[in-house]
Amino acid sequence: MIGARRDGFLLAALGAWVLTPIAVLIVRAFAQSWRFPQILPDATDAWPALSAAGTGRVTSALIASLALALATGLFGTVIGFLIARSAVRVGRRFQQLTLAAAFFTVIAPPIALGVGLQVAVLGIGLGGTFTGVFLAHLVPVTGYLTLFAVGVFASFDLSLEDEARTLGASPWQVLSRIVVPLLGRRLGEGLILGGLVSWGQLAITLLVGGGVVRTLPVELLSMVQSGNDQAGAFAALMLSLPPMFAIGLLTVGARRTGASL
């Protein structure tokens, strides 16, 4: 009885800890003014807030972020799965080496990666361009997706490919009729995961994009630093909604198939 009450308290504390910052963002985004010492704003009117912040900067930044997320998710999934497929077919030592390399790209400070990549991207004339930022985002995205795909291939029966080849299937037929259908859902998850990694990138975008490529995180930082908290909070919500939707989608998918996320 005491244990159940303690767990209930723990869950309530967890709910408050997690939801309060999100609630604060929602209130700030939709309140015309929220002056000290008001704990809650007097009146909320969503439309002026939305029209001020939603048009122009946030919208174009949202489009740029979506395009980058889609492109990096797509290319990252293809590259990550190809790398992982090569890695799982070899001995444990080289598999570990690939995993370590992928893990390094995941945890290496984006700002440190960005400083080196900035010089490299400038060298090929792509500094301050969408393509340059796309290439730079691909680095961490590929790392995440390689780690993800190695996990996927751990439960994938590679002998199916060999059997199909023995029966005379061409490499294209093996790919289109065996590998892609069997990995379909996982490829979709990879696309979402890759998109999410790109979606939140700020440091790399700032350095490689040089302030010219305005993604939603770049715009949000600029709004907050210029003191425009309301537009910043609105941009923060726009930035948080797609990941919430994607995580919800993955969770529902995982529950339906009995897989763990």
Partner: protein, 278 residues
Amino acid sequence: MSRRDLPGLLAAVVVASPVLIGAVYSTLAAVGLVGVGAQGFTLERVIDTLTSSETWSGVAWTFATAGAATAVAVAAAFVLAVRVRDRRFGQVMAMLPMAVPHVAAALAALLMFGQSGLLSRLTYALGLTTAPADFQPLVYDRAGVSLVLTFVWKELPYLTLTAMAVLLVDSRELEEVARTLGATARQTFWRVTWPQLWRGTAPAVIAAFAFLVGQYEMPALLAPSNPTALSILIYERAVDPNLLRRGEAHVLGLLALSISGLLVVAHQWWRARAEPGP
């Protein structure tokens, strides 16, 4: 190495190559051979940067805030994993902050912990303070209170889900066996649950710490300017109007990459130790 291993080696090279290319460029830029402000080979920037007290106070502050946040997040994740691992609400709540990007979480912290933020308003309403200036600064403060709390908020989901996965897969049957054999709840926790939990989550703990060390978005909005977090120091040098200082960004970047490299080695070593061999 056999021919069969070549694709594996190639895969590792492909994954690592962008980082290696960046690191090579950074190395060349650090010694003044390429990049903006390059004036021929010199070790001056490397020596100046690595002997600067600003660099090492920044590194120490970064390690301290990342370490404190990781310790708090690990403790909270373990408690949640043990107590509420079977509760759907707990699982959903534990996962939710994952969806909020770091820069958005930092803004929420600013709105909560700033001197005119929500907490300050609550203390005013309770009569504990009479003006925003009376409220203890929790943002841009040397102790990094709001930064550490925001780090914890963002890292808790990853660590909690990892700990829950470890317990769901590895511990349940062993716990039941221990209880059947007469172990008390306390004995079961310390002799069965805790060793499984620690061994299973240690690589994730190292990864979380490494990730926080390299964080840029949250320090950019919440950290003080003195000492300066390592990531902020790198960015400031990279965009310094004085072109001669930009080489310092590369030295600092290489320092950060070296720290990450050491943490990757620690992570892989611990994983290899925790996982059974082939």
